[in-house]
């Protein structure tokens, strides 16, 4: 059994809504509302859910790029929430993030060598010659060539830029990579190149991934286990194959059935949800899915279902599965 590299307990991130004549706080957006999960060393945990459900906020809170409102984060035995700013910066050597838009996250005025070297300089690692050598090695590892070092971000295609984003995250040999929609902006043929690269790198360097995406097929492909988020909460979490073959939560079922299949012979029961996702500034009471759930009962409207193990580590938050 692999040990837990990351343990997240009761994570919350509430953003204040200001307004009124005095510009005071008039409410909160519950972007992440009591989320708990663990990531085992060497595994890929996927996080899926629709736009605004709190995936990015969760990912960024773990690295404290966003300061969580409350909760406990334990990474590799260290209590992340208690670290000073300085200690946190050092900690990030082991926790890196890759973003969706590789272009926006790369400094357009720096060439690739400078971009890749920077994390090493920040952490005071290696001599100039050693750093340059490491850049060359890393370019090869992610499938680029050493001559790319002198080029600038705008001279690369989307897929190549994402390779650079991954190379930068790998420069410090981290243990965990939070990948926030790393392939969402890419065409299918380029997407498969980057997914394969990430899997190869994981095997080679023993990396642990938290893989955030809204595309269920992509998440299914890359993840060992998957958590499904809805309105700031994880509603179901289990192994990738369990989630797809035996989804329990009504939202997961609807989500899976909504994904169009490229196989014209695929027969599936279609659950078309009515209405939009409610605003996280005014989340519904009880089970936040009750406004759209086909199985809603009176209890769902008032009592928040607990996130609990329905057997064999298959976690679900729904009143239908009370033991």
């Amino acid at each position: 059994m692999a040990e837990d590299l990351l343990i997240v307990k009761n994570l919350k991130k509430y953003y204040p809504i200001t307004g009124g004549v005095l510009g005071g706080e008039v409410g909160v957006v519950k972007a992440v509302d009591d989320v708990s999960f663990t990531v085992k060393s060497g595994e890929t945990l996927g996080l899926v859910g629709e736009s605004g459900c709190g995936k990015s906020t969760t990912g960024r809170s773990l690295l404290r790029l966003i300061e969580p409102t409350s909760g406990a984060i334990n990474f590799d035995g260290i209590d992340v929430m208690s670290l000073s700013t300085d200690a946190m910066r050092k900690m990030r050597r082991d926790m890196q993030i890759v973003f969706q838009d590789p272009f926006a996250s790369l400094n357009p005025r720096h060439n690739i060598e400078k971009i890749l070297e920077e994390p090493l300089i920040v952490h005071g690692l290696g001599s100039s010659a050693e750093r340059k050598k490491r850049v060359q090695e890393m370019l090869e590892i992610v499938g680029l060539s050493s001559y790319h070092a002198s080029r600038y971000p705008h001279q690369f295609s989307g897929g190549q830029r994402q390779r650079i984003g991954i190379a930068r995250a790998l420069m410090l040999k981290p243990k965990l990579i939070v990948a926030d929609e790393p392939v969402s902006a890419l065409d299918v043929s380029i997407q498969s190149q980057v997914l394969n690269l990430m899997q190869d790198l994981q095997r080679e360097f023993g990396l642990t991934y938290l893989f955030i995406a809204h595309d269920l097929s992509v998440v299914r492909h890359i993840s060992d286990r998957v958590g499904v988020m809805y309105l700031g909460r994880i509603v179901e979490l289990t192994t990738s194959s369990q989630l797809y073959s035996n989804p329990l939560h009504p939202y997961t079922k609807a989500l899976l059935s909504a994904v169009p299949s490229p196989d014209p012979d695929a027969v599936r029961e279609r659950v078309i949800l009515q209405g939009d996702v409610p605003s996280p500034a005014k989340p519904p009471s009880g089970c936040t899915f009750h406004t759209r759930c086909p199985h809603v009962t009176e209890e769902c409207r008032t009592v928040r279902p607990e996130f609990m193990d329905a057997g064999d580590g298959h976690f679900v938050a729904c009143h239908l599965y009370k033991s």
Partner: protein
């Protein structure tokens, strides 16, 4: 008996830029029959949007220009008609929906004004009747609180609701052809399912033909009767949806399908097409896919294959499938 609504023949739309002439659409032929749903798929930059904008005569000019070919809508050549006639056709006989509905909704008018306008153009209804009809259309496309939403402005609605408004407007004018350019790409899957459902309804109930542009092969499978696969400004394969998704012939289409992660089944390693799509305007001889093709031969590098019949209703542009 075939009743073509739209016949695009050998369309060439080029851009004249500082970097030279870019043949964004370079000899595209697509026919859409009455009541048929035809999909155009292909990767970013292959010319899908420029093809659809050419049909609507909305290619920005300059720098863009239709330099060759014809576009016949119910027999009338749109390439040569004047702007006045085009304005009659747009949003009336041919409706459009785009990826970002904000670009086609007017921010200063209420939803009711905009749907009402479509209704009035079409039926000479009074203002009051048009408003009632607008509310009815909003309900039909599943918008809650239609009586209130009708007086709201586009920015007050979510992306999915705006796209439903666009469909309501399209339904209001009962068009012969709907051109939908990535109508669900910006939406979540559960909202996408609602929008696709509405488009299917429009197709079935009003017999509206749809030209659906998407990069999602799943959407193609669920919506289309026929598929056109584009690569670098060309049609490279075409056929009915089953043929293209189950037994494609062109190496690019095969590669694209194999690159897809599957929701069902095993997690084996994905196939990946090496390299990148060619930079638009880069000069090429021979097959445009040759630099990335695993079946490439010498002939491919020197001679461009033509789009040839390879089966029932099935065309492919590849020396191997000749």
């Amino acid at each position: 008996m075939s009743h073509p609504v739209l016949q695009i023949e050998n369309l060439q739309t080029h851009f004249f830029t500082d970097r030279g002439q870019i043949p964004a659409v370079d000899g595209v032929t697509i026919t859409v029959q009455k009541g048929e749903v035809v999909g155009i798929v292909g990767e970013s930059g292959c010319g899908k949007s420029v093809t659809s904008l050419s049909v609507m005569k909305l290619v920005p000019n300059p720098p863009g220009k239709i330099v060759g070919g014809s576009i016949k809508f119910k027999g009338e050549d749109l390439v040569s008609v004047d702007e006045k006639r085009m304005r009659d056709i747009r949003g009336n006989e041919i409706a459009m929906i785009f990826q970002e509905p904000m670009t086609s909704l007017n921010p200063v008018f209420t939803i009711g004004d905009q749907i009402g306008e479509s209704v009035r153009l079409h039926t000479k209804a009074s203002k009051k009747e048009a408003r009632a009809r607008a509310i009815e259309m909003l309900k039909k496309v599943g918008i809650p609180r239609a009586e209130a939403i009708v007086d709201e402005y586009p920015h007050q609605l979510s992306g999915g609701m705006r796209q439903r408004v666009m469909i309501a407007m399209a339904m209001a004018c009962n068009p012969e052809l709907l051109i939908a350019d990535e109508p669900t790409t910006a939406l979540d899957v559960t909202i996408q399912a609602q929008i696709l459902d509405l488009m299917r309804q429009l197709n079935r109930e009003a017999d509206t033909a749809i030209l659906l542009i998407t990069h999602d092969l799943g959407v193609v499978a669920e919506m289309c009767h026929r598929v056109v696969v584009m690569y670098a400004g060309n049609v490279i394969e075409q056929g009915d949806v089953r043929t293209i998704l189950k037994s494609p012939k062109h190496p690019y289409t095969i590669g694209l399908l194999n690159s897809l992660p599957k929701l069902e089944g095993s997690q084996e390693r994905l196939y990946s097409i090496p390299g990148n799509v060619p930079i638009p305007g880069s000069l090429t001889v021979g097959c445009r896919f040759a630099p990335r093709c695993d079946k490439v031969s010498d002939r491919c590098r020197s001679e461009m294959p033509e789009l040839k019949v390879v089966g029932d209703n099935h065309l492919s542009r590849c020396w191997l499938t000749e």
